[in-house]
């Protein structure tokens, strides 16, 4: 359900940049989604088709790049992808210090004409 308002905002960002570029049509949108956000690709696509109808972004190709979670160990500084049910460092079992990737949610670029 939350993808509805999120997709509205995605469309706003897209159309604003298309407008600034004086484009008549958006052909492709490159969107980046981190795995920690919990945003569902399918729902975003579903709402995008409905919301973009009649706009410059209608029928645009929505390319979504997923970014897996990456954390840095607080002990040995190793970067790792946490396992299911285990977020300790796989090398030294230390606790994570920070999350490096996984929270991304941005439009990288658009292709227009």
């Amino acid at each position: 359900m939350h993808e509805l308002s999120v997709t509205e905002q995605l469309l706003d960002v897209t159309l604003e940049h298309a407008e600034n570029a004086m484009a008549s049509r958006v052909l492709r949108i490159d969107l980046v989604i981190g795995d920690l956000t919990g945003f569902m690709e399918e729902s975003i696509r579903f709402y995008f088709d409905i919301l973009s109808e009649g706009t410059k972004a209608q029928n645009a190709l929505l390319k979504i790049a997923r970014v897996p979670v990456r954390a840095r160990c607080g002990e040995c500084r190793t970067e790792f992808t946490p396992g299911e049910g285990n977020w300790r460092c796989p090398l030294c079992q230390g606790p994570l210090k920070e999350i490096i990737n996984g929270r991304e949610f941005y439009v990288e670029s658009i292709e227009v004409e």
Binding site: H2, Q9, D12, A21, G85, I110, V112
Partner: protein, 217 residues
């Protein structure tokens, strides 16, 4: 065809409004606390118990977010605490703009700590900043000790985990150590408070900690 670089956060508009809210709260020396949890974990009970523990030492205000009804707001108002109810009408989280409207109707100069009780949901509320200084997830014993691993998005993003209903631990399969380990592995910097809003156990410690943050506003 040409490529246009965008590099813009999708939730940029919400983030900007949240920044305005944060500035407004700061101007009025109000500590904003975003309370998130699954439905029924005890968010409203925690607000009421905390306010009771403070006994007027800190002045409390509340924004209640629910899909429908004024049930929670009425509970809060019955204790003479200023409260605004937001009904999202289906949306499963609060956004900065709806909170901004609510802030305009609250007597901010008469509030030290503002609890913003989010819609009961462990997934999307954390994506939407509201202007808070402190992000809290309220977990409860009957939900199970594996919740941090199942909802890493929220458990890694909060400053505090309040584990409620610890009085029920003897009656359900709940590993307190497993919960503690889950929280500390996902979010080693997070505070963990173990409370029971029903018996009052542990509430004073949490209330003291939160109150100390208000003083620095």
């Amino acid at each position: 065809m040409r490529k246009v670089e965008v590099i813009t956060q999708v939730l940029n508009a919400n983030d900007l409004t949240a920044r305005e809210n944060r500035a407004l709260l700061k101007d009025h020396h109000v500590l904003g606390v975003n309370l998130m949890a699954s439905p029924g974990a005890g968010k409203t009970s925690l607000i009421l118990q905390t306010a009771q523990t403070w006994a007027g030492r800190y002045r409390v205000g509340v924004i209640e977010g629910d899909v429908a009804s004024r049930i929670d707001a009425d509970r809060v108002a019955s204790r003479d605490i200023p409260v605004v109810q937001i009904n999202t009408g289906g949306e499963c989280h609060l956004e900065a703009l709806t909170v901004q409207r609510a802030l305009k109707t609250l007597p901010l100069d008469e509030i030290d700590i503002l609890f913003i009780e989010n819609v009961g949901n462990l997934i999307c509320p954390v994506q939407f900043q509201l202007g808070e200084e402190v992000r809290v997830v309220v977990a409860s014993v009957p939900e199970g000790d594996d919740k941090p691993y199942k909802y890493p998005g929220i458990f890694t993003a909060v400053h505090v985990v309040v584990l409620n209903k610890i009085d029920l631990a003897p009656y359900v399969d709940f590993g307190l150590d497993a919960m503690r380990q889950g929280v500390s592995s996902l979010n080693p910097g997070a505070e963990l408070f173990e409370v029971s809003c029903r018996t009052g156990e542990g509430v004073a410690k949490w209330a003291k900690w939160l109150g100390s943050l208000a003083r620095s506003q």
